[in-house]
Symmetry: C2
Subunit: 245 residues, 2 copies
């Protein structure tokens, strides 16, 4: 089967570029949605929250546009081998980007609830986590635009650090909840916010795998670093006697 | 563009059937994974938990098999119009099924933590929720096999009920946490378990949309029922004075 990297048909090349441009633009939209959501939490910025939520339908519409484009492209151009792998990877990437947008919108929604509570702690751990997630997201969107498997690998490797921070945050938030029942509602929302950020990191890692696979033709999956152990976290109150039913 | 529902090439028909069979078999695998995960939680069944976690690599492998199959199918058969829509929808479905498997494995992992705690409440709400989620999952896998848009629509409509139960569970679990700090760790894991079940329901709904779209050629998205309001849930301790920092 011939590699079709040198396309005879010029307009086909343009179509592949257009596909990459569509996905990069979807990536940029999602990136700013995540930035807004983080600002909504960390700076208690209601306007940022509203904008993050409002962006969701646009992201969804762009996902559908990519899908329509891919269906037309495949039907008209009958791509093979590497091109087809790239096109299918692109389609899956938009799924990941759409989910990232959903998580950002959910973070923004929860920020509105947090406004109703005094902030139980400094948020420095969450600020750190949101910085790392945003860095990875920016990097992976660059990697999409440049079809850069090395950048993708870098994102893939640094996800373990995000998982570790999430794990630490999980334990920290539980101790705040144990200290004062008034912290339970805000900290529960913070737990889900942290989980959403961790999931955003996971989707960036998925995209990294797709970029790598589309470029190299072999999967980058089996030894994926997994740093999050919060699913098996056990945190107990300091004294078993405090608090009663 | 001609509809290619009547295929001249017999082996092409067989390939499409093989694709449907692959996805249905992936669906069946995921369905039993979810059943095991629910049993792990509700019956404190460690063996079920182990089996749910152990199934994950098989589900992932099947997803890759479908993807390889689709790439070969598209390259060789150059499908058009409705077939292409169906093939692309199939590819996206496997993504949803893979995520459902991940959520099931996560539920199973958390069940191991819960074993270390006395169960803080009867789990009747969670049992109810897991029953509805499993019903929807079974129905949607049938709908995949039969390409039945009506069944898909039924799943799509009943997701709101799952969201409502999740919402009630969220509030209920938070009150248990407020009553006794020893409940906080197990209830936090129960919160995430409930969230995972709710997400499994969402992915069943995604699949419903894909089946509908592949069949009808028009999306079933804009008026999707959304019953989950837990992202904005505010639950406060009974008296503001109890508990101190």
């Amino acid at each position: 089967m011939p590699g079709t990297t040198d396309h005879i048909v010029k307009s086909y090349d343009n179509e592949l570029k257009r596909l990459a441009a569509l996905i990069t633009s979807m990536g940029g939209m999602v990136e700013s949605q995540v930035a807004l959501a983080c600002r909504a939490i960390l700076d208690r910025d209601t306007e940022a929250a509203d904008r993050a939520v409002a962006a969701d339908p646009q992201v969804d519409a762009l996902e559908r546009e990519v899908e329509q484009f891919v269906i037309r492209l495949v039907a008209l151009r009958q791509p093979m081998a590497q091109d087809l792998r790239l096109i299918i990877a692109s389609l899956k990437m938009t799924g990941d980007l759409e989910r990232i947008g959903d998580y950002a919108a959910n973070v923004a929604k929860r920020s509105r609830v947090l406004q109703q509570f005094p902030m139980p702690y400094t948020l420095s751990g969450l600020a750190h986590m949101s910085r790392l997630v945003q860095e990875n997201l920016k990097l992976i969107i660059d990697a999409i635009g440049e079809a850069d498997a090395e950048k993708a690998l870098q994102v893939w490797r640094s996800d373990a650090a995000i998982d570790e921070i999430y794990d630490a945050l999980f334990r920290e938030l539980i101790t705040y909840m144990m200290e004062d029942p008034r912290n339970i509602t805000p900290c529960t929302h913070l737990l889900f916010i942290a989980k959403n950020l961790e999931r955003i990191g996971d989707h960036a890692t998925n995209i990294a795998e797709l970029i790598y696979y589309a470029d190299k033709g072999e999967p980058l999956i089996d030894s994926r670093p997994k740093g999050d152990s919060s699913s098996s976290a056990v945190v107990r109150p300091r004294t078993a006697e405090e608090g009663g039913r």
